[in-house]
Structure formats: C-alpha cells, structure tokens
C-alpha cells in the first residue's frame, strides 16, 4: 500500500508540475493555483457574500474543495497523505531527516502551542482575504512558491518562507503540515467523526509499537483501540508496519 500511495503522490506532483510548465511556456492558463482547494477556503466568505468568484479562484477550486471534504468525511485527512504535493515533499524530507538521526521527542508544552499556530493562521488568512478582496497571502504560500515556477507574485521573501517551512521538518516530523498548514487546520474541523478509521485489535496486538514508530504524526496507536485522532491522515504506514497478525485494520 505504501507503493501505491507513493505513486499517487508522485502522480499529483507531476500533474501540478506539468500544468506549471505549460503555464510558464504560455500553452495553458491553468497553473498550480487552479488545483488548490485552499484558494476556495480563503475566498469562501467573499463568494458567499458576492456570489462571484473573487481573485484567481474559479469553479475548479471549489469543486476540488468539495471533493476533499467528502474524502475527509469518509477517510479522515487522506488528502494530506495521498494527494497534497507539499505534503509529499514534507514526507520525503521527514524520511530523509529520519535516516540521519532520530527525532528528539518534544514535550506537550512545546507541541500544543505549535499545533495551534495553524488555526490562528487559518483565521488570519480568511479574515484578511475577506477584508482585502484579494489573495493577499499568495506571495507567502509555500505551495505556490514551490509549484508555481516563480509565479507572478513570487518574491524573495516567498522563497525564504518556503525554506523555513521545509526546515521545520528537521525539528518536527512533518513540521510544516502539523504546525503551520492552514488547510490542514481547516480539514481538522471535519476530521472528528469520520466514516472509516483505523482500529487496533487488542487480542492479536503484541504491543511491539512498530505502528507508533511508523506514524509520521506521532500518534500513540499502540495505546488506543480506535484511532480517531485529528492528526491521523490515513497514510496507512501503521498498517504496513504492523508486524503481527494484521492487528490494524480499516473499519467503520
């Protein structure tokens, strides 16, 4: 399943880059923005108010957002681990960083405030976009900077922000996704009672904790029966890592 997920991530990265290259060559109007569901989140309040698409957002962004929400309701934040190109880059960096040295566990006192940054960012972005009637945060969006191939609002600061967002991964597993990503924060609002979730069979589990080590979101899977934590992105790394008796399974 890891291979299939890797291929999925690769496909979506290639798809975005393909459109970015076509756009930069002047062969298409579609670029990485066209496929960004967060553009729809940012401008939703404006859309509700005016019934018109503001800024560079169009029906594609809204329909993709609808699809992502349906996916989240069924399979938690599966978008983050299977589709999001920036998530894939973060995962790759986390994996590379993990090969050099183990991540130092951070205390809950440090992690909790860090995790709340993304919710603050989400509120600030939505409110400021509403007030300014424009995608004012686009120059600072790591996704647009990474996959926009130097898009028209990209500036030096954009690359500085992207570099810092990726650098977080060297201190925290999936650092950007877990602490800064405002779209992750938005999806968390719908990631409470999902249809499908991962279950651990206590009868067959030998408590080897391989699943805990495999989880990029550092969820203590071995200490729970029903994995319904908001952080779970259904990457299925835990299921692949489960060494004994297939004790982890998807159920509803």
């Amino acid at each position: 399943m890891r291979t299939i997920r890797f291929l999925f991530q690769l496909f979506f990265i290639e798809l975005i880059l393909y459109h970015a290259v076509l756009f930069s060559l002047g062969a298409s109007y579609k670029n990485c923005e066209t496929y960004c569901p967060f553009g729809a989140v940012e401008t939703m309040a404006l859309f509700v108010k005016t019934a018109k698409f503001p800024c560079a957002v169009n029906e594609f962004n809204y329909s993709i957002l609808a699809g992502v929400l349906i996916l989240t309701i069924f399979f938690k934040r599966v978008f983050c681990s299977w589709v999001c190109p920036l998530g894939a880059v973060n995962e790759l960096l986390t994996s590379l960083r993990g090969r050099f040295a183990e991540y130092k566990p951070l205390s809950a006192n440090i992690l909790k405030p860090l995790y709340s940054i993304k919710y603050i960012l989400l509120i600030v972005i939505v409110v400021v976009t509403y007030q300014n009637y424009d995608l004012v945060f686009r120059p600072y969006c790591p996704y647009f900077t990474a996959f926009g191939l130097h898009g028209h609002t990209t500036e030096t600061l954009s690359y500085f922000i992207l570099a810092n967002a990726l650098l977080m991964t060297f201190f925290i597993k999936l650092g950007f996704c877990r602490t800064l990503c405002p779209f992750g924060a938005f999806l968390n609002l719908f990631n409470i009672r999902t249809v499908f979730k991962i279950y651990r069979d206590e009868k067959t589990c030998v408590n080897c904790k391989l699943c805990d080590d495999a989880c990029p979101n550092e969820i203590k899977i071995s200490e729970t029966v029903k994995i319904d934590k908001r952080g779970c992105t259904m990457c299925l790394n835990c299921i692949s890592a489960c060494g004994k008796n297939n004790s982890l399974k998807i159920g509803f």
Binding site: N58, W82, M234, F252
Partner: protein, 151 residues
C-alpha cells in the same frame, strides 16, 4: 465494523480517483461566470437579426477586478447588450447589436493603452475571437503568456 473484518485499504485510492474525477466533471458542468452584466433595455430594443453573441479569449481577464475593467471599457461602446466573463479559461461572451458595433471595434476598445503614473499600460490582449457562435474562430495570438500589464 469490527477490526477482524476490516475494509481492504485499496478502497482509499479508488475512492480518491472517483471523487476527483467527479469533481472535475462537476466543475465543468457548473461553470459559472466570474462577471455578468446585461443591459435589459438595450436587449429589448435590439432586433433578433442584429443580436449576436461574440466570444473572445482575452489574456488579462484573470479576476473579478480585471473583468470589471474589461466590461467598463466595452460598455463605452454603443450596442453592447451583455458581458459575461469566465476567468478560468480567460473567456468573455459579449452580446451585441451588430448594427451598432462590430467585433473589430470591440477589439480596439479592449486592447487600448492607458496611462497610469506616466506609464503606458496595456492590460488586455485578445488571443482569438469569433463574431457569433456559428462563425469560425479568428486566431490573433497563440502564446498564452502574451505580456499584459497589471493595472
């Protein structure tokens, strides 16, 4: 469902493919204009023979703001009945009275240069157009990255 009879994880990629395919279809199906403006009085007064709908692919029509500028400039011409823009593919549908205005006049109006802070700016470039939905497309430019200035 109990974990003993779990769901095959392959359901996840299948579900993702189905959902995104459906989304792409619905995005096209429910395509809505970024900007729409119609002059009802002029539409009533136009004869059916003269009422035509021209289609333009215009580089520079990228958002609601640019759509409004585009519409404002076209509205200065006589015989413009309705203006509809679709920013996702930089399209504009212009309802017009063919006895009062021609497509060439519209292009001149769209591609005008404006002075902003002593600088000449050209915000729109027509890539291709057709005078009515039955006529052929006339291609003026092919490179979609044709330079246009931001207002």
């Amino acid at each position: 469902m109990k974990p003993e009879s779990g769901v095959n994880p392959i359901i996840i990629p299948i579900f993702i493919v189905l959902i995104f395919s459906a989304c792409s279809y619905f995005a096209w199906f429910f395509r809505m204009p970024t900007y729409y403006h119609a002059n009802e009085e002029l539409i009533k007064s136009a004869t059916a023979a003269d009422y035509k709908t021209a289609e333009f692919e215009v580089n520079g029509v990228v958002c609601l703001g640019t759509s409004k500028t585009f519409a404002k400039w076209l509205d200065e011409l006589p015989g413009i009945l309705s203006i509809k823009t679709y920013t996702s593919n930089r399209f504009a549908e212009i309802g017009y009275d063919a006895s009062k205005v021609s497509a060439d006049e519209m292009i001149i109006s769209i591609e005008r240069e404006v002075n902003v802070d002593n600088e000449k700016l050209k915000p729109f470039s027509v890539m291709r157009y057709r005078e009515s939905q039955n006529s052929d497309w006339i291609v003026l430019r092919t490179n979609k990255k044709t330079e246009v200035d931001e207002l």
